[in-house]
């Protein structure tokens, strides 16, 4: 497998396109995270707060984004993970997660990360600082 440190600035990790967002995804995340805010699972409750329907937990999308880095656990770890929630994710949206190397040193790699929907809009965007272990 490729080492993260072999990546050059400007290069990207392989994108992952997620399956269309399903209600079951959000129910599972609610259960696993303990975040039972009903705007994520019950249409009537979402509509009562002015939303067109249920929206995904921002933390669900952020959690998905972190999987771009999971395979590199021997090389380093996510030291900071900062995200702005920029747009809502609705049922059936098709989300793609991306990471681009912005800066590198011998101790850390700085990635710009984002999740975009099928219309090319950012739903979350931010940075990952990946601390490298000494090899």
């Amino acid at each position: 497998m490729m080492l993260l440190q072999q990546l050059e600035v400007g290069e990207t990790l392989a994108d992952i396109q997620l399956e269309p967002v399903s209600r079951l995804d959000l129910i599972k995340y609610a259960g696993a995270s303990g975040d039972y805010n009903p705007i994520h699972t019950i249409d009537e409750e979402a509509k009562a707060t002015g939303l067109p329907g249920v929206i995904a937990h921002g933390m669900w999308t952020m959690g998905n984004l972190s999987k771009l880095f999971t395979s590199y656990y021997e090389e380093g770890f996510i030291e900071t993970f900062s995200i702005r929630f920029k747009g809502m994710v609705f049922l059936h949206d098709v989300i793609r997660i991306q990471a681009t190397l912005a800066e590198k040193s011998s101790q850390a790699l700085r990635f710009q990360v984002r999740a975009v929907n099928q219309r090319g809009e950012d739903v979350i965007a931010g940075e990952v600082m990946y601390a490298l272990y000494e090899l």
Binding site: I39, T49, M59, K67, R84
Partner: protein, 149 residues
């Protein structure tokens, strides 16, 4: 409306990185990687143990702040920043607490919105830093009206 809570802090709560909870969480974010769930992979890794996904700390109990009753529904998450010392290990104990760092309001096209800034911190049993999660929660006009009734 939450100004008076700035600086408030909860008591530390002991949590455990439960194996079953990690597996359920990894499944919920579509990341059932062996480093999270396979004991053999964990043992052979540099961590000598399975680890938890970075956003797993969401599931911990951070205690409560007296008098602070956030609405159970309608809150919007604006920003989230994690800082980690290292990945959390499966089965380790983590001592967690929450602090209210700031509260301010801004007027926008959908009325006045409140911004509550929280820090959720995790430490080991010796009080050594493990992680911090800064969270900005947006309280919309609609929700503000509901809770002031």
């Amino acid at each position: 409306m939450f100004q008076s809570f700035i600086g408030a802090c909860s008591d530390k709560v002991k949590n455990r990185v439960e194996r079953g909870a990690v597996k359920k969480f990894a499944a919920a974010i579509g990341d059932l990687h062996p480093i999270y769930i396979d004991e053999e992979t964990g043992r052979k890794s540099r961590y000598k143990q399975n680890i938890a996904p970075p956003t797993f700390s969401r599931v911990f109990d951070y205690g409560t702040i007296d008098g602070l009753n956030l609405p159970a529904k309608g809150l919007i998450h604006g920003e989230q920043i994690y800082t980690f010392k290292r990945p959390l290990l499966v089965e380790e104990e983590v001592y967690c607490y929450t602090e209210i760092m700031d509260y301010y309001e801004k007027s926008g096209k959908n009325g006045k919105m409140g911004f509550l800034v929280l820090h959720n911190t995790g430490e080991d049993r010796n009080g050594e830093f493990l992680f911090k999660a800064k969270q900005v929660v947006i309280i919309t006009e609609t929700v503000r009206k509901e809770i002031s009734v």
